[in-house]
């Protein structure tokens, strides 16, 4: 093929507000502030070709670890780097490996936790799909460190492509003598097996995951003993998250000092966040620990779409919390997030704007926790459901002042009375929203209104007669036939027939914007269409989602 060496302008990225294309990735606002270590090969190599990975220094760390380093040396390097578990809790990886190495009993096992169940997080999927060999390489190095001969890669069933990519990569690694017996002729044996999850959020908890690998229900168990002492089939087992394993090769290749130079005093290296929700630039971002939320949301993320106002960012999935605007300058590291009532979790970062109701979000997470509770501990099984019931009552406008006290007293019971992380952290979304957005709870309870105009029982839909052009679009789309009107004349919504699905709002052309969400004049009763239309002129109106 003949190349002319000219940049192809038509393929370049053009910023939404700019006219000139940006030729280099490192100059694009979204990538400029990122530091790619774990995601360094994403989009650069063909994940189905091991040669591509090797061409970018792949398996060099493995060779170094197997030929030049002692197990103690590897553990010392990972400890000195300050690598902490990327699955959420942030336990020091080197310390975990050292415990496993010292623990009596053989064989020892390694597990890669790829059961990325946190809604809103998908960095593990991306690593498994775009750089599978980095995970394998990390595991072989870990195996040498702890003296394991067998590893398991537990990947959730909802990730079919990740499962396929890992199977392919493992096959290639075996073919090249990088997995199996006598790796690189060093006499070291290690092999991995892919285990497919079956759809249970709790199986991401380490002891539950081990129970699942053993073929049973994913029930967590009491710790200690920790898996590093007694894990799979009662044998010492190191279990680390996908992102943790994928960090290991870079640490061994470039040295602990380099890695420890990134991040903060206690949180080293980078962390991948999935920046999603009400944000202009969505996607995975890998940033050094300690970067502020503001830099992520406004620098990398490019702010909130449609000129809406930032309200909160939800971090850490169902275990995490909602961080408000006032804390936008919070540095993102394990300790700071914990002090704000949240948690690093797996790194989901869901941005919420003024059209997101915080009570509804709390309810969403508590329902999630209630459904996903395995049922072993009563405070988790019953407590999360009871909390969800109270929250549902509040969103319906039936809450009382006592409900807030009830939520606040149930939360510590659920936290303290649960065996595993699911129950211990399930109340966090409620506690953080109560802490930072109490006014929204109070508006639902005392004023019977939803400030974000989300909770169906507290809102009404109406058509602004001044804006309506009578185009029929909403009338045609309405699933219950609640909209009447003639061509060219103002349409009217029958509040009694309206099920508040919001389709009329979505189909109303952006130029017209005649459909409005409003707070009904009298709570509970939507009132006549004209009266709610008038209410549209009041300050509490909203458009769009």
């Amino acid at each position: 093929m003949k190349t002319k060496g000219r940049p192809v302008k038509s393929l370049m990225y053009v910023p939404p507000d700019g006219k000139e294309p940006v030729p280099k990735m490192k100059d694009i606002e979204f990538f400029k502030h990122q530091r790619l270590i774990v995601l360094r090969n994403r989009g650069r190599i063909d994940p189905e070709r091991i040669d591509d990975y090797i061409a970018y220094d792949g398996y060099a760390a493995l060779a170094r670890a197997l030929t030049e380093m002692t197990p103690e040396g590897i553990i010392a390097e990972v400890s000195a780097a300050g690598l902490r578990g990327r699955g959420g809790a942030g336990f020091p990886t080197g310390a975990k490996w050292a415990v496993c190495r010292r623990a009596p009993g053989t064989p020892r096992y390694l597990v890669c936790n790829g059961d990325e169940g946190d809604p809103g997080a998908f960095m593990d999927r991306s690593v498994l799909e775009t750089d599978p060999h980095a995970v394998i390489e990390g595991m072989v190095i870990g195996a040498k460190a702890v003296g394991a001969a067998k590893g398991f890669l537990y990947i959730r069933n909802e990730y079919p492509l990740a499962l396929a990519c890992m199977e392919t990569a493992i096959g290639q690694a075996r073919e090249y003598g990088l997995l199996g017996t006598d790796i690189l002729g060093t006499g070291f044996d290690f092999d991995v097996e892919v285990v497919r999850g079956a759809g249970a959020f709790v199986s991401g908890e380490e002891t539950a995951l081990l129970a699942s690998i053993e073929g049973g229900r994913a029930y967590p168990r009491q710790r200690p003993p920790y898996p590093a002492e007694r894990g799979l089939w009662g044998k010492p087992t190191v279990i680390n998250n996908v992102e943790t394993w994928a960090n290991v090769p870079s640490i061994i290749r470039r040295g602990a000092a380099w890695f420890a130079g990134l991040g903060t005093a206690t949180s080293k290296g980078t962390k991948i966040f999935s920046l999603v929700g009400k944000i202009n630039n969505t996607g995975l971002v890998e940033v050094p620990m300690g970067i502020s939320l503001r830099e992520i949301v406004y620098g990398i993320g490019g702010g909130i779409p449609g000129g809406r106002d930032f309200k909160a960012v939800q971090i850490g999935g169902p275990s995490g919390g909602c961080i408000p605007k006032a804390l936008l300058d919070l540095p993102v590291d394990y300790e700071s997030l914990k002090s704000a009532g949240g948690m690093m979790g797996s790194g989901g970062m869901i941005v919420m704007d003024e059209d997101t109701c915080m009570v509804d979000i709390a309810l969403y997470f508590l329902r999630f926790a209630g459904e996903e509770s395995c049922g072993k501990c009563t405070p988790c099984r019953i407590g999360t459901r009871e909390m969800a019931r109270v929250l549902a009552r509040i969103t319906k406008g039936d809450g009382t002042g006592d409900d807030l006290i009830k939520l606040e007293s149930l939360a510590p019971t659920v936290k303290q009375g649960s065996l595993c992380g699911l129950g211990q952290t399930a109340p966090n979304p409620v506690l953080t929203t109560l802490r930072y957005f109490r006014d929204e709870y109070e508006a639902h309870i005392f004023d019977k209104r939803c400030p974000a105009l989300v909770c169906k029982d507290l809102i009404a839909f109406a058509i602004d007669p001044a804006a309506c052009v009578g185009c029929f679009l909403c009338k045609k789309a309405c699933p219950t036939g609640a909209i009447s009107g003639e061509a060219g004349k103002v349409h009217v919504i029958d509040a009694k027939a309206c099920i508040k699905c919001g389709i009329c709002l979505n189909v109303c052309p952006p130029k017209v914007r005649a459909v409005r969400k409003t707070t009904p004049a009298i709570a509970g009763a939507a009132g006549s269409p004209t009266s709610s239309t008038r209410a549209a002129a009041s300050p509490k109106t909203g458009e769009g989602r």
């Binding site: 809103g120 497919r196 079956a198 249970a200 073929g215 994913a218 999935s274 929700g277 869901i350």
Partner: protein, 157 residues
């Protein structure tokens, strides 16, 4: 669809006596016929040497297993957090109205099953729906209508 005895034997034979293989064996059967009939569970219990109560326990614990026959077309609506804040719930309710069934159910003619999932990890595409294995990002009610109409017209696979 019920699996024949020889089919069940083929799917379970390699795991004979291996208690650890329980989940994987159930998944193989589920992949093949899209549900787990009682007969299949009994066969698995006998072959693997696992008590039937334990097989049922596992089959009912994990969400990827179905003890009822599923429809020929499967619609899955994602309700992860990103999808939730971008209108996933309204989308699910739209599917419920269009198909006339609640989430988790199958239409009486066996044509459609509607499911909800807690996150498919494609949050940048929220709200997301998967229909017969195809991922539809930035899904809207109008888009859902046209996809469903297409599936209906295509008839059965």
């Amino acid at each position: 669809m019920h699996p024949s005895k020889s089919e069940l034997e083929a799917l379970t034979e390699k795991s004979k006596g291996q208690k650890r293989a329980l989940i994987q064996v159930l998944q193989d059967i589920q992949d093949r016929i899209h549900w787990l009939p009682a007969k299949a569970l009994e066969h698995v219990a006998r072959t693997l040497g696992v008590p039937l109560v334990q097989v049922y326990g596992v089959a009912t614990f994990y969400k990827s297993f179905s003890l009822e026959p599923r429809g020929r077309h499967v619609c899955t609506v994602c309700l992860g957090t990103a999808c939730h804040v971008r209108g996933g719930q309204a989308l699910l309710e739209h599917f419920e109205r269009k198909l006339g069934i609640a989430a988790g159910r199958t239409t009486p003619d066996g044509k459609f099953t509607l499911e909800r999932v807690n996150c498919l990890g494609a949050c940048a595409l929220a709200p997301l729906a998967v229909i017969d294995g195809h991922y539809y990002g930035r899904m809207s009610e109008a888009k859902a209508d046209s996809v469903l109409a297409g599936v209906r017209k295509d008839g059965d696979p």
